[in-house]
């Protein structure tokens, strides 16, 4: 129906269906929304890249406090500017889809929360995480004492090997005991 379906060839569609957790309709809808974001001069490009500023105009991501981190995590550009190709976009939707497993979701959640990309969540990452969730302005932040106490609580509960950071396995262990995570970690177009 319409020209968008014909733009995505059938073999690519079935290949995407095999490689991601998305259904055919979801992939077609993603393609439609993605091509709307592509700039006019890039339309003829075989694999166009959309800059982060345009991705963040999507209503599903506009108000999300983690929108910039999400773009950075799923971006494959060498310049690390957060721009996404269509396959990156499908990766994003697949990880956030209904049928993605807990392992995939917790893996990506870990990477999103890892603000300095060093592979572990240390105190700095946790502080940035809490600030991201509670708000940016000065009157909505936690006081430094409250922040310190909170991060101590978090580390005491999730840092099993007591090295002062939360690595991927510890994070996944904590997440597996939180049953709301799978239903909350969802973005649907």
């Amino acid at each position: 129906m319409g020209t968008t379906a014909s733009q995505l060839p059938k073999d690519l569609l079935s290949e995407y269906q095999e490689l991601t957790f998305l259904t055919k309709q979801e992939i077609l809808l993603a393609h439609k929304r993605f091509t709307e974001l592509v700039a006019k001069e890039d339309r003829n490009d075989p694999s166009p890249r959309v800059p982060m500023s345009k991705i963040l105009t999507l209503p599903e991501l506009k108000s999300n406090p983690f929108r910039k981190r999400i773009c950075h995590v799923f971006s494959t550009s060498e310049s690390k500017d957060g721009s996404l190709t269509f396959e990156d976009f499908l990766d994003l939707l697949s990880a956030f889809s209904d049928s993605a497993t807990l392992e995939i979701k917790s893996h990506y959640a870990f990477r999103i929360f890892d603000f300095d990309d060093d592979g572990t969540l240390d105190r700095g990452d946790l502080e940035k995480l809490v600030n991201c969730l509670t708000g940016e302005t000065d009157d909505t932040r936690l006081t430094p004492e409250e922040m310190k106490q909170l991060i101590n609580n978090i580390l005491e509960e999730s840092d099993i090997d007591k090295d002062g950071t939360v690595n991927l396995s510890e994070f996944q262990h904590v997440i597996s005991r939180s049953p709301d995570f799978v239903s909350s970690f969802k973005i649907v177009l």
């Binding site: 506009k62 959640a109 995480l129 649907v188």
Partner: protein
């Protein structure tokens, strides 16, 4: 070059209770759809209506996807769970309607009605369920026994269709309850309200900007409370247990309390009230109404249930009016301190459970009652959705939606379904069907139809069927042994669980110890390297000196 996107696991996918539970009825729905299409050529009018209804239903199922996404985007997952629950219950009723219509009503319509003195249809029947409806296939009384038409045994069809539907419901409910319980209680730490929990429960579904801002401020409040002294939650929980009588004031009082205990107390009291009402009604029907031999008592009970279903619908509307619309008017115009109300998920889900209980009880006395239930749920969805968007604000607390959902499914199963099943079972097993109407006229109990049929089965051909019936279905020893084996298995699995818990604590200690070992070894390595380096430097200095 193509990249390898997220590889899909080869095992099963994770699916929620709504997905899993609709799978078996959904499969049967399509199977029965095929059967119905072939039978369509026989009867005309009612089937054309049925086809249109099914088409509308299928289209609205897809229509509701966008509405539910919008609700999830503005109000979050816990409010969305109410609407998913409503849609799931609607599936049960659609399946019931198709099964009953296909296997009971259509054969009855085909063989023709044997009811005399038909009254005309007046509009009032839709509300009272009496009058013209009494003679239609809506109720038990219009179905005749097998004497008239010997090709299709109406008695067995009636009994087995209803029994099969109830068994499928039971299986579906037990499966959803067990998988939901395993996912949300066993694998998670139910007791602790941890900071990580709060952080990781950020609802990515919420896209509305105002809702996001509100959630952020609520999360900030919760995190502040969490990082304060440990005594506060303990005292607050104790207070919640001690002041159950002031439930309506409680919801205004503590903003920061442990919401779980409070909600569970309110829900349980509500459930007790509703189940007592139904229990008294059923007792009255079983003991008083069913004893009279002169009238078609099943029809009377069917009519009362029909009226209950309708009246319950009106009360749900009124409840929505008072609970949401009026409360918002009071909260914004009269007493601004109260503010806009939140959508009370618990109260609404309990109303749904009550409505479904009525439908399950009524299925024996009025096989087409699911139609009214379907219409009712359909209208209720839209009414609640409109009321939600006009009158309510998103919930302040990030509720534990998944655990509440398990609790609701458990409530749907234990008091609601099991109660309805017991009542239908008691009716089928012990009560004498009325003599003047219905497919079981002349028998002592409804179940006798099956016994008579078993006796008439050809012993030579179906020996195994008779053997199963004698040794397993009617034998008490078999059920006693089965229960004993199941109890032993439960004890066995419980012991395994205890052993595994012990293993987990031991492994945690081991991880800590290995961390300490690693730190110790790294320090030792560093010291050795420093000693080695200083030794090498010292040797170099010594080697250079003699040259001078």
């Amino acid at each position: 070059p193509k990249r390898d996107l997220n590889p899909r696991p080869t095992g099963e996918q994770d699916c929620g209770p709504t997905h899993c539970a609709t799978a078996p009825p959904g499969f049967f729905v399509y199977f029965i759809l095929i059967v119905l299409c072939t039978v369509t050529r026989l009867a005309s009018q009612s089937l054309r209506r049925c086809g249109a209804a099914m088409e509308a239903v299928r289209q609205t199922m897809q229509l509701w996807q966008s509405i539910m996404k919008e609700i999830g985007g503005r109000f979050g997952t816990s409010v969305l769970s109410y609407f998913s629950f409503l849609k799931w219950l609607l599936m049960f009723n659609i399946f019931s309607f198709l099964v009953n219509f296909g296997f009971i009503t259509i054969p009855q319509l085909v063989q023709g009605s044997n009811i005399t003195n038909c009254q005309g249809f007046k509009g009032l029947e839709l509300i009272t369920g009496a009058g013209h409806f009494r003679q239609t296939v809506m109720y038990y009384g219009a179905y005749s026994g097998s004497e008239v038409n010997s090709r299709y045994n109406m008695q067995l069809a009636y009994f087995f269709t209803i029994a099969a539907y109830l068994v499928l419901c039971a299986v579906s409910l037990i499966y959803s309850m067990a998988s939901s319980f395993r996912r949300n209680f066993v694998l998670s730490d139910a007791a602790s309200v941890s900071a990580w929990r709060l952080l990781c429960s950020w609802d990515f579904n919420v896209v509305n900007e105002k809702a996001v801002r509100q959630r952020r401020s609520n999360l900030r409040i919760q995190l502040k409370v969490h990082s304060s002294a440990l005594l506060l939650p303990f005292v607050v929980s104790l207070l919640n247990l001690v002041i159950p009588l002031l439930c309506s004031l409680l919801t205004q009082m503590e903003h920061y309390s442990n919401p779980r205990t409070q909600i569970y107390v309110i829900i349980l009291r509500n459930v007790l009230l509703k189940m007592s009402i139904l229990g008294i009604l059923c007792y009255h029907w079983m003991n008083n109404v069913a004893q009279s031999n002169l009238t078609c008592w099943e029809n009377l009970v069917g009519q009362e249930l029909y009226r209950l279903v309708i009246v319950d619908f009106f009360f749900l509307m009124i409840g929505s009016f008072f609970g949401e619309f009026l409360r918002r008017v009071i909260g914004t115009k009269l007493i601004p301190k109260l503010g806009v109300p939140e959508f009370d998920v618990a109260r609404n889900v309990l109303d749904l459970i009550f409505a479904q209980t009525l439908a399950w009880i009524g299925i024996y006395f009025s096989p087409l009652l699911p139609i009214m239930q379907m219409i009712k749920f359909f209208l209720l969805f839209y009414v609640k959705k409109i009321s939600l968007s006009q009158n309510c604000q998103p919930p302040r607390r990030s509720g534990r939606a998944a655990q509440m959902q398990t609790f609701f499914i458990a409530l749907l199963f234990i008091p609601s379904f099991v109660g309805a099943l017991s009542m239908v079972a008691y009716t089928v097993w012990c009560l004498k069907p009325s003599d003047i109407c219905g497919p079981f006229q002349g028998l002592n109990t409804t179940y006798e139809a099956v016994s008579i049929w078993m006796e008439s089965v050809d012993r030579l051909q179906f020996n195994w069927v008779i053997w199963i019936y004698d040794k397993m279905i009617t034998s008490e020893l078999f059920f006693f042994l089965l229960s004993l084996i199941i109890l032993v298995l439960i004890y066995f699995f419980w012991q395994i669980t205890q052993g595994r818990k012990l293993l987990i604590t031991l492994l945690k200690e081991q991880i800590v110890n290995e961390g300490k070992d690693k730190v110790f070894l790294l320090n030792k390595l560093k010291n050795l390297q420093n000693a080695n380096n200083s030794q090498v430097l010292h040797q170099l200095e010594n080697a250079q000196q003699p040259k001078v």
